[in-house]
Amino acid sequence: MTLAPGANGVDVADLTLINLTKSFGDFIAVDDLTLTIPAGSFFALLGPSGCGKTTTLRMVAGLEDPTAGQIMLGDRDLTSLKAFKRPVNTVFQSYALFPHLDVFENVAFGLRRRGIKDVAGQVNQMLELVELGPLARRKPGQLSGGQQQRVAVARALINNPGVLLLDEPLGALDLKLRRQMQIELKRIQTEVGTSFVHVTHDQEEAMTMADTVAVMNMGRIEQMGAPVDIYDLPTTRFVATFLGQSNEIEGQIVESSGDELVFSAYGQRFGVPASRSVVDQGPAYLGVRPEKLGIVPAGQADSVAAQANQVSGKITDTSFAGVSTQYMVMTSWGDEWIVFEQNRSASQPLRPGDEVVVHWLVEHSFGLSPQV
């Protein structure tokens, strides 16, 4: 499925980056990136500050020349096309609205540059979509942050780009408006059907909005996939901690016969499914998400199923948050673990100082390579 009909019958195509690299002097900002963004998908590029997200977008937009590699939209090679000729539009990190033009003219800018004379119909329709109709004659300086952000989206989207690039468009908004705009953006994307490449360093934003999330670190994609899949089975320690929270144990894989590997650490043995581990021998890390853990007082350890993985420890902190309780547990070897427990029973939460056993099902473990 390379071509899907987008808004107004314009074809949206897969965006493919092939071995894309960008260096600034000795520093490699984007390192040999190869990925495909399917037509019409909502793709989130997630990573810490300085990992190369903006640089990647700028190369796709044509604002930065790649050091090496190729950018394809469908079967069109964009690599050496000038920015003003690319069927790609950007919502800039700081919006970059034209301060001397009103909302209407900002939105009409791209149409006029392509020689379209009668812009009023399209512009008004677009302003309708982003709910800015009544503000058409305002200058950007007279708009709130959220309104400016919607002008920036409208200004880019009106051109029916093959791909819309959004560089942390919600970064400047407060939390409440951010949540509202996330829903708004998602609605607009579904309505127009254009591919969105959304850059963010907010993992929750990436997971709630995107069909596909790519986690980027130091110029490379660490892992890419549907949010549920990446969350359920991270393949590097960076992803395990950057996307959501994880508890981990450092140890060795000592047995790898059959579907279940045996992982040994601090004289204890833990099970991990072979299909959920990226290493099958030698040094490794075992990981598990905090909400997959159960917690019982040390005295009731017998109630835990014998084949479950178990860690004993002592509670150092309890924070009650209504629907759930978050415990900090100091393991017997001195690591700090996080446990989320749903408040389903009427019993009182455990208290700091209580000796406990933390347990989880073998199929919730994941095995990682020791490199970060």
Partner: protein
Amino acid sequence: MATTTSTPVAATSVSTQRRPRTGYLLLLPGIAWLAVFFVVPIITLLITSLQAPVPGRSGVYTLGFEVSNYADALSAYWPQFIRSFVYASIATILALLLAYPLAYFIAFKAGRWRALMLVLVVAPFFASFLLRTYAWRTILSDEGAITSFFNALNLLPDNRILNTPIGVVLGLTYNFLPFMILPLYAALEKIDPRLIEAANDLYARPFTGFRKVIWPLSLPGVVAGTLLTFIPASGDFINARLLGSPSDSMVGTAIQVNFLQFRDYPVASALSFILMAIILTVVFIYIRRAGTEDLV
């Protein structure tokens, strides 16, 4: 203890009451300066421009209401007025053409050389205006490289630059160029360079991006720069005196000659007033047309 807690409260209530008056006090030095050095001289000038000569005593005048001084001044010196405005206009246009690319370069491309380049722009001010204009006599002299070069190409109507209108216009352009560059730079420097990228992203070729985004946003600088060049250039007399022939004289020359040589103070004052009135009218129309309310 009691004093430390009560003081801030008292201080705020006093300061909110006093703030408006303090604001006006800040204006006092400026108003005093303007009164002494602008309002008083201009009234003196107005009175002088209406004085009548004392018969038999040259250079001595009495209080009067000789409106005819204005008519005399205009009928005697209208060619100087026309030359002033033509030379000043050409010099302003030349200065704009030279200054805009330079200011653009300093604002967007100079990087770490920016401060140095700005210093170089104002560096000529370290030497006196008169001295620099004298230097131009040498630069433009008949045997000089520039004149020889253009003569070789047969481009000069009189085969020379010095003592021609071309010399005067070149001198004016040179002398007032910094007054064009600095406001242009100030306006361009405020423009977010990402707007250029946004324009390119929205299908504007580099030149279209300039025309639709950078140029309109730099207009306040263009207006300020052209005014700061045009106004002093149209009243200047040094350039016409040193780089032009007597037949290239400007209003400034006429005013200077009437004040200092002929000692015809009323006509000199009347000339000053007419010059001022024309400049004010031109500036008013210009600002109206340029539509930059936020400039003034």
